[in-house]
């Protein structure tokens, strides 16, 4: 009852100066619109750039690194256990890049509840022969369906079909740059020479464009079996296991655990691509600070208008107080005014923000390195909308709070006797 009465009074005061109120609300609308648009656009762009690397990068990669053994034989000898041993001319130990006992490791990783899935990979360094020219390149042996499911492999295939890798024997998907150099198309054959000198003929079933040109100039994909054949290695020979986790933030911990558990090397995505995370977080920070600055400016607008309104409504405030409205009631009235400006302006802002981002989403954006992107990227994350409305509520509340407190302190005797 009391609240309803105060809201009614607030409404009457608001509507009596609806032009002023509208301008205050437009300030909030504008800032929320820009806030939503900026964040949607910026975070769409972030996702796009991160996606270039992060989507295709395993969260944890298990492999055998080329490096000297940490445990040299002399350290194991009890005779020299208490001495400090200087060893010269250590050589890296890399006679086996394959992962030992890979099948058992895969089985145990798949049982880990933190893991979303994994794909196996194996790399072969080869020469692509084009007449008298040899082009250095590498062939990744992959499982196309797992790769598509976990790492969006299909998105980068510009011609052909990734499933053909398993259907067609001795088939290969070439990077766009590499295919252009070799002057081949789907259905053509390419000849390769392995590092051991063996010759192979592979049939081209597609080309891909990863968005990073240097990749496309040297890389190609084939099925695991094909690459195992090229390298003449057994069926369980793989050089890396690529694990995707349910929660990317757990990657460092999981990598550390696997390293100890399986006695191999394991690298997490955060270590491998730290620069991307830094870039993203700074871009996000900038968008948020610009958005919040806009909101604070709108808050000052509301503050000014409410101050003016209180100055104009001195008489009304005085009589309300004389007839039994307490300072608290008067304060509530002005806070209701501020908040309704904030909520109305904020909701309009969400609407316009959505409209503006949808508009940007339609603007063509063609770039050679990103074949799947046709328009500017927009992220329609509902979180931005939630933050927007909460912030408009909070800023208008505070913008209203100070004038409202001033109004609640008005001494009716001073106003009435001053007449």
């Amino acid at each position: 009852m009391r609240k309803l009465l105060l809201i009614n009074i607030a409404k009457a005061l608001l509507l009596a100066r609806w032009r002023q109120t509208l301008i205050a609300a437009i300030g909030v609308t504008f800032s929320i619109t820009m806030f939503i648009t900026l964040l949607s656009f910026m975070s769409g762009l972030n996702d796009l750039l991160d996606g270039l690397i992060l989507n295709r990068t395993p969260h944890v990669r298990i492999y055998n690194d080329v490096k000297p053994k940490a445990d040299q034989p002399i350290n194991k000898s009890s005779q020299f256990a208490k001495t400090h041993n200087f060893i010269g001319s250590i050589k890296s130990d890399a006679n086996r890049q394959a992962i030992y006992n890979s099948e058992a490791i895969i089985k145990s990783i798949l049982n880990d509840p933190r893991v979303l899935g994994l794909s196996q990979k194996l790399t072969a360094q080869v020469f692509f022969n084009d007449g008298s020219i040899d082009i250095t390149g590498s062939i990744f042996g992959i499982n196309p369906s797992a790769e598509t499911k976990l790492y969006h492999f299909d998105e980068y295939i510009t011609t052909g079909n990734s499933a053909d890798l398993t259907k067609v024997n001795n088939s290969i998907i070439l990077g766009k740059g590499l295919a252009d150099k070799l002057l081949v198309q789907i259905g053509d054959a390419v000849q390769i020479t392995t590092s051991k000198g063996d010759l192979f003929q592979l049939k081209v079933v597609g080309t891909f464009q990863s968005g990073i040109k240097d990749f496309d100039n040297v890389q190609s994909y084939a099925s695991i079996n094909t690459v195992q054949k090229i390298l003449s290695v057994p069926n369980d020979y793989i050089t890396s296991i690529q694990v995707k986790l349910k929660d990317i933030t757990q990657a460092p911990a999981v990598a550390k655990a696997y390293q100890q558990l399986y006695q191999t090397d394991a690298e997490d995505i955060q270590t491998a691509n730290s620069q991307f995370e830094t870039g993203s977080s700074i871009r996000t920070l900038i968008s948020y600070s610009v958005g919040i600055t806009l909101l604070i400016v709108a808050g000052f607008g509301i503050y000014n208008i409410l101050n003016m309104m209180i100055f104009e409504k001195m008489d009304s405030i005085a009589i309300l107080k004389a007839t039994g409205f307490s300072g608290k009631d008067v304060k509530s009235i002005f806070i209701y005014i501020a908040i309704s400006i904030g909520i109305f302006g904020g909701l309009m802002g969400l609407l316009f923000g959505f409209g503006l981002s949808a508009l940007i989403d339609q603007i063509p954006f063609n770039t050679a390195s990103l074949p799947t992107i046709k328009t500017y990227p927009i992220n329609y994350n509902p979180r931005f909308y939630l933050i927007g409305i909460v912030f408009s509520f909070i800023t208008t509340y505070f913008a209203g709070w100070f004038p409202a407190r001033k109004a609640s302190k008005i001494d009716p005797v001073v106003i009435i006797r001053g007449k």
């Binding site: 009596a16 009304s316 009589i319 004389a322 007839t323 039994g324 300072g327 009631d329 006797r417 007449k419």
Partner: protein, 224 residues
Amino acid sequence: MEKILEAKNINKFFHDPVRIQVLENLSLSINKGEFVSLTGKSGCGKSTLLYVLSTMDTDYDGTILIDGEEMPKKEEGFLAKIRNEKIGFVFQFHYLLNEFNVLENVMLPGLKLAKYSRAEVEHRAMEKLKILGIDHLALKKSNHVSGGEKQRVAIARALINDPHIIMGDEPTGNLDKKNSDIVFDIFNQLASEFKQTLLIVTHDQGFAERTHRIIKMEDGKIIS
């Protein structure tokens, strides 16, 4: 006789720009149903006394009892409730809210009190307007009625919660002779017919002489 309002040993000082005593050890009491006028020369402290008695001005020494209850000086919310329920005000200026119509202006203190439902408050407001002969103006915006009518709306607003006492600060000060007479007649009718207690500050000698009792002030003291 039942005492509605009682003031004991009221002292008040103005501090700005220099310390002056405006009310000097002043005591008075007003009985139920009395129509009292408070007169004196400009600056004698009669308005100041009224605002002290009204609980709006709490910067004084002494005790004020309304309906036998002592008024605490610090509790702003409690005093607001007392004013809402037990005191009706009529000022020299009408102080109607332009955003509302006449009826809503009268209803506001009643809605604040929340003793009756909205429909009942509306009915009671209409009754008060009828007593004052302005019920035909009920749905007009309050800035669309004449000055005399505005003052009558303000009186209706003062009456809405059936207050123990109506306090007026020069309620006829802004009105012409005809409207002053109307307002006086209304006060007189309220006092005689409804046994309404009234305390009116005025410097209109003719107005004061027609009331039941005149309290005359000079230099912060009651002289008769």
